[in-house]
């Protein structure tokens, strides 16, 4: 009698286990044993990577909370940490990402010791990689922004010179509301993290200075919406 009862108990417990085990097996992800190495985590922080990013303190502007901040530099490695980090994104990172495509960079390869020609058909011939929409819209000449005796420096209205890295000083002469928002954080992009050192992208990192508008393109694929019927959003 006791043996029969024990058997019954063991069987019922076994049944319970079987039910649980089956249920658990269903809940496991599909068992694909692809012998593929996991994706190399290219977006991983590599602690301290931001300190490797070439950046310079911004002059003339303070960030939120009246704190100084930094802007990326385009010196050094042409395909810098920045270009790699945003590898999947088509950013107009101007000189930094596109240096290999810019046959005429550095400008001094032609302009060394020569003054710029102000208006001539030879200008367009020599700069076919530049679409001068911005100068055409504003009626600006090359020398409106570039220093006539050194094209790689920017001539400010104050008489100062700025390097291309500090182009915001030039842009802010007209685009002051954008520059104000850029310094505060409402325009442009901060890199790497919300915490710690504040390094932002310069104007030229997104905007081609000669064609500042972002080019239209086909977006990433649309969602296949599993949306509640007749109810939006």
């Amino acid at each position: 009698m006791t043996r029969r009862r024990a058997c019954a108990a063991a069987l019922s417990l076994g049944l319970v286990w079987a039910v649980f085990a089956c249920r658990q097996a269903d809940r496991l992800p599909p068992n694909d044993r692809a012998v593929v190495a996991p994706r190399a985590d290219t977006t991983a922080p590599a602690p301290g990577s931001l300190t490797m990013l070439p950046a310079a303190p911004v002059t003339g502007w303070l960030g939120p909370g009246e704190r100084p901040f930094e802007v990326t530099l385009r010196t050094g490695d042409p395909v810098s940490a920045l270009a790699r980090r945003f590898g999947t994104i088509t950013l107009r990172t101007s000189l930094r990402a596109h240096t290999p495509d810019l046959g005429q960079y550095p400008c001094t390869s032609c302009h060394l010791g020569r003054r710029m020609v102000l208006a001539d058909e030879r200008v367009a011939d020599a700069h076919q990689n530049i679409t001068p929409i911005h100068p055409a819209q504003t009626g600006a000449a090359c020398a409106t922004c570039h220093a006539p005796d050194n094209v790689e420096l920017l001539a400010l209205k104050s008489g100062d010179r700025a390097t291309l890295d500090h182009a915001y000083r030039l842009c802010a002469q007209c685009h002051f509301s954008q520059a104000e928002a850029w310094a505060g954080g409402g325009h442009g992009k901060r890199l790497d993290g919300w915490q710690g050192r504040r390094v932002v992208m310069g104007c030229g990192d997104c905007h081609d200075p000669h064609t500042p508008t972002l080019e239209p393109r086909i977006p990433f694929r649309a969602p296949q919406l599993q949306r509640p019927r007749g109810d939006a959003p």
Binding site: L28, D32, S177, P219
Partner: protein, 325 residues
């Protein structure tokens, strides 16, 4: 019951002891049923009909221990470390994936906030792509946390908005507005959860314990922004595309029948990094930061720009603002 309050005779009047060792009900059940399971498995192993590999046995055991574990909030640090070790081992054994699961806590003095510039967004959906890759979203079901609405200039009317546009953007005379989980300060989804599987963390992120969720989808019905997604089948992410940097409350492997949602990339933001969407945005329309830090960019935007929130009349207090240039 604390150890110093234990009765003198272990079994006297206390049904919560197993083999003279004080345990809680869940653990006691686990030990009992687990013992039966081990016995049954031993029998199967001895029988010539269904031999079981060591790997399969280990998987069974790990899955069983996972099945009887508690709610993440009630776990001690040691228990959290144990379950993470089990989950990492399970990923290795069942999928051959080397994942690293964090249990990083909220930083003190941090409350996350997000701002979205509807003048800047051009509808490129780089954020959506980054989100899918970062958060290991189901590739087969095509799950996306972020929706970008295309609307005609002048009116914000989400009923007439198109979230499934697939043409060259930006389209003339249109603007774009992205939605995702707004990490509400008074989240209706948390209130309706019958089992306490979803809650708000101290840094304002509403998270889900995927192993505690029963899949009732009350939270999905309660959310006025349609921010949550349900796994109708086990999410399918190829191992080669798996993001190994995971958080227990974030982008770790989900199961069939559980709800998931945006966590502001909890595995990144708790380490001081930006969410993947904010990092991927090619137009700088996304601003992320600490609302409690007066020198943060999000605070600058809130102080200097005209901001609004979606469905503000519902008093869910989203921590996600829209602004214009």
């Amino acid at each position: 019951m604390r150890p110093d309050q234990a009765p003198a005779v272990p079994n006297a009047g206390d049904d919560r002891t197993v083999l003279q060792k004080r345990v809680d009900r869940r653990r006691a059940l686990g030990i009992l049923l687990g013992g039966v399971a081990v016995g049954a498995q031993a029998m199967t192993a001895c029988s010539p009909v269904a031999p079981m590999t060591d790997e399969a046995r280990e998987t069974r055991l790990l899955a069983w221990r996972e099945y009887i574990k508690g709610n993440y909030r009630s776990m001690t640090d040691a228990e959290r470390a144990e379950t993470i070790a089990r989950l990492e081992r399970l990923a290795k054994v069942t999928r051959g994936a080397d994942v690293k699961i964090q249990s990083t806590r909220a930083q003190p003095g941090v409350m996350f906030g997000y701002a979205f510039n509807i003048s800047k967004c051009k509808g490129f959906r780089n954020c959506v792509e980054a989100c899918i890759n970062e958060n290991n979203l189901d590739r087969r079901a095509g799950t996306q946390y972020i929706r970008i609405f295309e609307m005609e200039d002048g009116v914000i009317d989400l009923d007439e908005a198109d979230a499934t546009f697939q043409h060259e953007v930006p389209a003339d005379g249109h603007f774009y507005m992205g939605t995702q989980c707004f990490q509400c300060a008074d989240p209706p989804c948390v209130k309706v959860c019958p089992v306490g599987a979803t809650w708000q963390e101290p840094d304002g992120i509403t998270v889900i314990d995927y192993d505690w969720c029963i899949g009732c989808r009350y939270c999905m019905a309660a959310c006025p922004y349609w921010a949550r997604r349900f796994n109708w089948s086990a999410p399918d992410v190829p191992v080669a595309e798996l993001n190994p940097n995971q958080h227990y409350l974030g982008n770790r492997a989900r199961k069939m029948g559980v709800v998931e949602k945006c966590t502001f990339c909890i595995h990144r933001t708790r380490q001081g990094r930006l969410p993947a969407c904010a990092e991927a945005c090619p137009t700088g329309a996304r601003v992320f930061g600490n609302l409690l830090d007066p020198s943060s960019e999000i605070r600058w935007v809130l102080a200097n720009k005209k901001v609004f929130r979606l469905k503000e009349d519902l008093k869910t207090e989203p921590r996600f603002w829209y602004f214009t240039d």
